[in-house]
Symmetry: C2
Subunit: 431 residues, 2 copies
């Protein structure tokens, strides 16, 4: 290991080690104590608002000089209002029920043993994320409420902002007599720190990557600690033969255009062939009015191209790769399918198991779709945009899991917990 | 990729792909259909008993020629009785409740959406295991009952036995009209097949390694698919100042000697210093009578060595590494601790978070231990040997998880499931 690497490794491992030590303390706190800390953190953020904005301005200036895109700069930029939103986020977490200590099951065995299954914190959670500085505050709040320590590794473009945010949050901890190591923070910009962090078996209990597909697959591929994959969404709406066209158009337009950059927006529309010539012109008119580019299969083009000759720039042939792509933009692939089975097979082949919807008035078709489609969230006659911790009523969201282990779909506080078996006896031994 | 590797990769990926296709079929089976298949599998095993024993005899002869240890050969060897036990294991699985389809929660939202959280199969489970051929049958039965496909990769020393077992199990599948690909099997001995299997993202939903520490850490380090770590157990009993000595001796002897090779046996005894000079001679006499070698800390030796001068071979100084070792044998490290906190700190440092016990009549001390010790199972006045799916009343066990994600401790059928959110609406869109 080179000098620099040894130094870097030391920086990362010291944060993980102090977080682990702090996790033992956090796991024994009462709900009231944790809520006090959350409020103190919020106060500390408000008191440091001017310093936070100053540090943020430096990060934003650098991002502009480095030619970052407007959307990245927007995600990076804070304001008084955004700081207040972070603080109000912490206050919302105060009001959520504390899952830690919940008894999940009890078994009394014939030999007299009583086996309780009790919800406990995970221990130390590593968050690896990109430019949004609000993740720093959200993650600190949610992990604290669940009695976990956290190690934060944000994007290097937000390093100054995150540093001062963490400094403020730690003031909230120490004011309440807690170790500041409960919020670990990697204050170095080097990319290797991510690799180091996600390989610290025995120190890190869970790594959660939040960001683009590149970040997520890097973490999944290189991690030695358990990871929850989040966020990649190639989602579909299937408009069935027996669809109500009004519901179908409103759901497709909402799912595609209300916020096209997010993971629960749709990328492909599947249409049953027996209604294609009636439905496609309706939806195409609405899509074009919303400036959506249509990438259609042959049958789609055959129906639309003559009708929409004036808008031919907006209607182009779909390539196979279009069906694999999360456009995250005002682009929609459209495919006419022979029947529901072909729609389900298409989703099985191209989908990322995030959110999938059927629009149909036929209950048999709907139930088949809901049962057979393998995804975190399957919808009948509703927009895929509802896949969200707040919309599901969890009161918080640490991310949206697209894997099947531990947590699937929107992750609330419970996703940050594990359990242990507590067994009480009176001298029992195994025969 | 070399010719051989390409060929090997094809062999592994074809099993994973056919398993994935089969998983879609399995996920829609009723409980009754799955139970029929389990019974048909049992019948097929009994009909093939002679062929199974012949194949097993060839594996056993090879293992003997290769100089394998007696304990490995014993694990490998089948008999009519062992085949009957496998079949009765399948019948037990028939009687277990089917977790798939269970509604875990329901939320009605103000906008009229109804969100059901429904338990579903994981999809495709890869089992990577060593010599015991009964794992082949157990894993096939448990994954089938939970609607999952499985890909089995057993030890090369059991290849002939496992091949014929899988052939019989598949007869049970096809007799019931199911695809034999539901039980995938890697019929090649090369070690690289493990690496290939645990890197098939998108095909394998979960890998479970069962075997020695080497196998488990190889799988954890190299896998790209989610893994559940199983089985490594460095477990402790702490005998508190207020312990009942009779309970303490019986629990320590049981936890150490009833079956020393298993993961829930203890490796270290921690004794409160204020009772050490009274308790250690009692427990030492019992341990020595059971041929257990004691590796004691300085204080332990000071108390025991003069008293047990005749047995000085059985009482040796403990090295620091002894406290890190899963002896899996009749060896016990003993350490005198200043107080309960030192006991908990010792467990935190050296334990593998498997099973930990306190013996005490003091309820305050007991509750502190149960709350503060971070392990899958924490015991008050009972032997650690109870950490087991059958002893916990799960009716089955696919392994014992020592990680905190997804499943912790003994894993029954539920550990082989995930869930999905099923959302029913009437045209709702997000505002």
């Amino acid at each position: 290991m080179t000098q620099t690497n040894g130094d870097l490794f030391e920086a990362v491992s010291s944060q993980a080690q102090t977080a682990k030590a702090a996790a033992r303390v956090l796991s024994t706190l009462s709900t009231a104590q944790k809520n006090e800390v959350l409020l103190a953190m919020g106060d500390a953020l408000l008191s440091s608002a001017n310093q936070i904005l100053l540090a943020n301005e430096l990060d934003v200036q650098d991002a502009i000089s480095n030619g970052q895109s407007d959307s990245r700069i927007d995600r990076l930029r804070l304001s008084h209002k955004r700081i207040e939103e972070m603080v109000s986020g912490l206050k919302q977490v105060v009001h959520l029920p504390d899952p830690v200590g919940e008894r999940l099951s009890t078994r009394k065995r014939q030999n007299g043993l009583v086996i309780d299954q009790i919800r406990v914190p995970l221990g130390v959670v590593a968050m690896i994320y990109e430019s949004r500085p609000n993740v720093t505050v959200d993650a600190a709040g949610l992990t604290l409420k669940t009695g976990n320590a956290v190690v934060l590794r944000g994007g290097k473009e937000a390093l100054r902002t995150n540093s001062i945010l963490v400094e403020s949050l730690r003031k909230g901890l120490t004011q309440q007599g807690l170790p500041e190591g409960a919020i670990g923070f990697i204050d170095r910009p080097e990319r290797e720190t991510v690799d180091m962090l996600i390989r610290m078996r025995g120190l890190i209990d869970l790594a959660i990557p939040r960001g683009g597909a590149g970040l997520i697959s890097t973490v999944v591929e290189r991690a030695l600690v358990p990871v929850i994959e989040t966020g990649v969404g190639n989602c579909h709406v299937y408009v069935d033969r027996d669809a109500d066209f009004q519901k179908a158009t409103s759901i497709v337009i909402n799912a595609k255009t209300q916020r096209p950059s997010v993971c629960n927006a749709i990328e492909t529309l599947l249409v049953h062939e027996s209604i294609a010539s009636a439905f496609l012109p309706l939806i195409a008119a609405d899509l074009i009015a919303k400036s959506v580019e249509i990438r259609g299969c042959e049958k789609t083009l055959a129906i639309l191209q003559t009708l929409f000759n004036l808008h031919r720039d907006h209607i182009v042939p779909a390539q196979d790769e279009d069906f694999e792509t999360e456009f995250s933009d005002l682009v929609l692939a459209i495919k006419v399918v022979h029947d529901e089975k072909e729609a389900i097979d298409h989703i099985d082949r191209y989908g990322t198991r995030h959110s999938e919807a059927i629009v149909s008035e036929n209950m048999v078709a709907a139930e088949e779709f809901l049962q057979q489609v393998d995804a975190a969230a399957v919808y009948h006659n509703a927009s895929t945009r509802f896949t969200d911790g707040f919309e599901f009523g969890f009161g918080a969201e640490i991310g949206i899991s697209t894997q099947k282990l531990h947590a699937r779909g929107p992750m609330g506080l419970e996703a940050l917990t594990s359990y242990k078996y507590v067994i009480r006896g009176d001298g029992q031994i195994r025969g």
